[in-house]
Assembly symmetry: C2
Homo-oligomer: 345 residues x 2
């Protein structure tokens, strides 16, 4: 084992107060006892509620999606709000379920034997440059460097607070560095830059990551980037080769099982060959457009909080009694951001 | 972007003949045109056939598992063959389905309201040391180094042929290096050693990785290591914190959808709270114990073949027309080993 375990833990204790005392708490315990100030309410404007037809036993099926915030995928997210307000998806269906990959719904592709439905006016058109965001626009919590050994460095560029850290063994096969921004997993490129007069590496641009449960925008071959009328959710191992190739617009915060446990399609690319297998979509609405009594309420654990830092540490260094060996590392998609349902006010 | 893309491709072309000409072939095309000599038959002794009760529409449900070969998890795999021959699992059930995690079946835990069934005599007892194998016992194809930049090195220790390579940007958050052995994804530790008289790093021990579809052995808290009577299959993002903590004994090669699309359990840890939801297991048999006409036949793409090297390259460097940006990297669990069903002889 070539890693510097003891050194790594010391560096972490510095970065995340309270970790030393929490050495034996499981990730679940840390989340369960996080103070209420560390939880962030998801605004009704950012929640999309998809109601599917009831299942064979008559049980209701609702899938709730949190739309991603600025500066990520804003053109597509604007379009999705426009489409939801136009009730665009009502009466459409789940079209594709591919095992260990995606569930796809909405605007049918040409040749599927379904009439194309015109999209509402005013949808924005994005380019491939919009798959990434200028890093300077973002506000991040801690960033985990995927490069080689390097001293811990801190960049302070209001309103950002960034800590690159080697306190975890967190290399990433897909990118230079990663972190979490406003509750979403984010990857980024590093470029050479200046800090306190010295040449160093700084983040250049950033993009949301295709982890389990993330929602993206279907499209044709480039230069098409999709308008948001056809969406998919990841239901398998993170297909991160899709990062920067398709727009990530949010993630499922409740009801993923109503997508992930659907029968797999038997047609090409796992589209349903039999139209009768397609699950009907009753409606898709922004929570903000629902009557107050029908709105769902969710919170996420603030990804720039000490609780979240302790949770990341506990995911990377498993100390629960069940474990005999800690990996002393974790990949970004094996650190799901904790979400909880809360009662209406 | 700090990576050395052009250099990386040059190094790869050296390592994998034919890649240069295949620059625009997709992973699927490479697999579809791989010569028959690059496919390996899975022996009937290594195939486990689990027949579940038919689904609500009366469709048959068979799950086929390839058991892992030496030197990995041999005690547990021996037990599984013993249990199958004793028809141990016949009449048992799927007990647990947890979204983005595992499906679990077989021997019920105490307190589940199911009578415990005695296991057959002669099961082996393993220790936590058996979660890993001495690297020297294994035979590997190419190994992808997860460490920092290093020159390409080749170790030749018959019967091993190992190439550590920086031709892919393949760091791994969980371990020092990774590769594939006899069709299975394998992680390993590196330690300092000697090569041609010079100090260098060499693999020390190795273990199979919890990727999507892998099958492992349920257990209680340590020092219990499980006897193989309770099994699980991964149906979500690779839970690699389980590596070296539970025994990986194989992977599903056919019928994973009969597990992954089951309704999620609503009890603690997603066990089925309602016993009526448990899917009955009709039988579990080694293919070698089935009449010849009933045996399934599968092959995997030899992981030490040039075809497989080209496939890995194409997964890491996406050049299909659908893609606009290549990650120039891939994680071990996003490189599923290709499997195909073949007709009986």
């Amino acid at each position: 084992m070539l890693r510097q375990g003891a050194l790594a833990l010391a560096a972490l204790a510095l970065a995340a107060p309270g970790v030393a005392q929490d050495a034996v708490r499981s990730p679940g315990e840390i989340v369960a006892t996080a103070p209420s100030r560390d939880w962030v309410t998801i605004a009704p404007q950012d929640l999309l509620v998809m109601t599917l037809a009831p299942d064979a036993e008559g049980n209701a099926r609702k899938v709730v999606i949190q739309l991603i915030g600025a500066p990520f995928s804003q053109g597509w997210v604007d379009n999705i709000r426009t489409l939801a307000k136009a009730k665009y998806w009502d009466g459409m269906a789940i079209l594709r379920v591919q095992d260990n990959y995606v569930v796809q719904w909405g605007q049918p592709d040409p040749g599927m034997g379904i009439a194309e439905k015109p999209v509402p006016d005013g949808l924005k058109v994005m380019s491939k440059q919009d798959y990434t965001a200028d890093f300077a626009q973002g506000m991040f919590g801690r960033i985990y460097d995927s490069g080689g050994p390097r001293d811990e460095e801190e960049y302070v560029r209001p309103p950002m607070r960034i800590v690159t850290s080697t306190s975890y063994t967190t290399p990433d096969p897909y990118t230079d560095a990663w972190g979490f921004s406003a509750g979403f997993p984010i990857a980024m490129d590093l470029v050479n830059g200046r800090r306190k007069g010295a040449i160093t590496t700084v983040p250049a641009n950033a993009w949301p990551v295709h982890c389990y449960g993330m929602v993206g925008v279907g499209r044709g071959n480039p230069p098409d980037t999709g308008d948001g009328s056809q969406l998919y959710a990841v239901i398998g191992h993170a297909p991160r080769h899709l990062d920067r190739n398709l727009a990530v617009v949010g993630r499922v915060v409740d009801g993923i099982e109503h997508l992930s446990s659907l029968p797999r399609g038997k047609g090409p690319a796992s589209y349903y060959a039999d139209p009768a297998k397609r699950v009907p979509i009753v409606s898709v609405r922004l929570a903000a457009e629902l009557p107050k009594g029908e709105r769902p309420h969710f919170e996420y654990l603030a990804t720039d909080s000490d609780s979240f830092a302790q949770y990341v540490d506990a995911r990377a260094h498993r100390r629960d009694p069940f474990f005999v060996t800690s990996a002393d590392g974790a990949d970004i998609c094996n650190i799901p951001v904790p979400i909880r349902a809360v009662a209406a006010e």
